[in-house]
Amino acid sequence: MATAEAVAGGAAHGHHEELSFVRKYIFSTDHKIIGIQFLFTCLVFLAVGGLLAMMIRWQLGFPGQPLPGAGVLGEARAPGGIILPEFYNSLVTMHGTFMIFFAIMPLLVGVYANYLIPLKLGAPDMAFPTLNMMSFWVFVASGVVMLASLFVTGGAAGAGWTVYAPLSAVPDYTGVYLGQQLWVVSIVLFGASSLLGSVNYITTVINMRAPGMTLFRMPLSIWALFITAILALLAVPVLAGAVIMLLFDQTIGTTFFLPADGGQPLLWQHLFWFFGHPEVYILILPAMGIVSDVIANGSRKPIFGYHSMVFAIIAIAFLGWIVWGHHMFQSGMNPLLGTSFMISTMAIAVPSAIKVFNWLGTMWRGNIQFHTPMLNAVGFVALFTIGGLSGIFMASNTVDVFIHDTYFIVAHIHYVLFGGSLFGIFAAIYFWFPKMFGRMMNETWGKIHFALTFILYNLVFFPMHILGMGGHMRRIYDPTEYEFLQRFQGMNEFITVSAFLLFVAQIPFLVNFFWSLFRGEKAGENPWHDNGLEWTTPSPPPHGNFATAPTVYHGPYEFSHPEAEEDFLPQNQPLGGG
């Protein structure tokens, strides 16, 4: 199995190249191809999630007016283009589901854990390449089931991405039958895929590091992906178990979550959020790691406080297990628990603050290069700061009484998952594109894409804080039903128009991505002058990654070392030449 010797074996591994097209590009066991497969698949799901969001925004901005072109959705969803309430509930549910499970999480973990872990650790491949391939194809199956559920009679799941029981457990309560069950089946498959991946990432990090690559010489991206894999390994089975219980309630008459025969609706919430809050950190920690790598590179300086950054990741991951109750302050849970969960939740602000200050410390007295990955990483720091601070409002059990389930939480989650995670993903795509495909993405268009996205993003999501402060409930089909929300209709229209523009602003990214695949400027081995081991091998790296197994002499952030000739020093080169 995987040991240090396997690394040496990797060189020999690199020779038997004659694989058929199918084995090389479709049922591939090469971690790089699997990462790229995840990338293309997840970009499709990201687009699906975005399209669903556009329909939600249409209804909120222009309630009851026919959405142009929505006639194709059919009589059951949008007769004459007018979105129906039950379809709206499905839109809300599926937008959250696609973005969280099929876009953000696999874009970070599926793509970059797969692509980066072996390359950055100096390994020829993952510990379990075949499991890795299986993880991808089970994920595809899961995504296909979820996509199919959009088209079944009765519509897709409509109980929210949090699928609270009993609404989700009894088909008559939503009018959704097959759709809600397919949601469960898809999530079970998703869970299996995630587990296979996690086992693989953890084993690889523990066993397959190149000689000299001690744990505290690992880049922060790898630390974050490693800790994330542990979180996923422990959290996802809880979700899988809970949704299987839910499926039994839906189909074979059990009553785990139904009060009539002694079940407990709050049990669902405890199980879901016991998974769901670690999930939040699964969605942000890898982006924090990636952004740390990019900021050190962009500032041409070592990351400030490397060890505290590692400990902050571990602290966030640990605290993530004991805060789930803050989602349940108003649920009827014992108010004493509201106190303890508030304190543990607020404690997470401390390691989060440490990370932000260390990013600032990294930029301090740097020589900052504004390449597109760096711009997105800086955008991440600014927006994550807003998202982190707005979290303190909800963490306060008292303030939460008012803003719970309002647009304030919608603003918060999007500042963390879009402003945070998705900007981190964009930084990663621009940064590692040359390594993945051997060509650069266009920098000018990358910067235009960043500027448009950053501005429009804030125009969409910042006003949502104000909606939330006005008491605007989330997940309501038609805010004009309420007198106290009438004054927000103009703002809702503004957000909707901004959201459409934000969607359109992704076209430069898409064109840049595909154009650069074929026509981009050729990238050398190390276009960003970075120190990671992945930059010491050709772009794209051959099967087996490294011609000879690398030896690691120091940490990944030796930028601008006073005794080095250049302002970077790859990890496989000792100080003073070698």
Partner: protein
């Protein structure tokens, strides 16, 4: 500031006060962080021939920016805790309150009143649908049940929100400080009619409330 809806209950002002304290603290931190960020981006922008200052960190800085946020957070937690039990702990609910029974179902609120004898569960109780009538300046305790899915009792002007979970009784209280009409919304997704699970809350002057009660029973 009229971002928050006009407050019309006793503890609304408490919640708003904590809200604005957190807004002030986080606002100052946000402006500070963004100012430093923008200054660094400008001051340390890359130039030819410039070399970054090689430094790996500073333990003193780490201690400072661990301890200071921790103190802030502790302060905000204490401030919040000074209000929370008053709103949510059943043993701190006001005594001599008017007690109402609320039955939530897809997609309506049914409110049962104690009638002339002043106690629930007797023959002279009566029920209103999608209307909640209460007197001003008197505490009201709600005993809430749901017969189908989870709903959430939310009156923005009173800053009250409490989920109503089937299979258990959820209690909540408020005391209105203004007469007039307010809106009650369901704040927990409860099905296709969730968005119109709306009721009117009518706060009467004390004497007006007495006569309304007599009319009903």
């Amino acid at each position: 500031m009229d971002w928050l809806p006009a407050a019309a209950s006793t503890y609304a002002a408490d919640i708003d006060r904590i809200f604005y304290v957190i807004l002030a603290v986080t606002g100052v931190i946000l402006v500070g962080v963004l100012t430093v960020l923008i200054y660094f981006l400008f001051r340390y922008r890359g130039r030819e021939g410039r070399k970054a200052f090689y430094i790996e960190g500073s333990n003193r800085a780490e201690v400072i920016w661990t301890v200071i946020p921790a103190l802030f957070i502790l302060g905000l937690a204490f401030a919040s805790q000074s209000v929370w039990p008053k709103i949510k702990s059943p043993d701190r609910f006001p005594t001599d309150a008017l007690e109402l029974h609320v039955r939530a179902e897809q997609f309506e609120w049914n409110v049962t009143y104690p009638g002339a004898d002043g106690s629930l569960g007797t023959d002279d109780d009566f029920t209103t649908r999608n209307q909640v009538h209460v007197p001003v300046d008197r505490p009201v305790v709600l005993h809430m049940e749901s017969i189908d899915v989870i709903h959430s009792f939310f009156v923005p002007a009173f800053r009250i929100k409490q989920d109503v979970v089937p299979g258990m009784q959820n209690d909540a209280w408020f005391q209105a400080t203004e007469t007039g009409e307010f809106e009650l919304a369901c704040a927990e997704l409860c099905g296709l009619g969730h968005y119109r699970m709306r009721a009117r809350v009518i706060v009467h002057a004390q004497d007006e409330y007495e006569s309304w009660m007599v009319e009903q029973s």
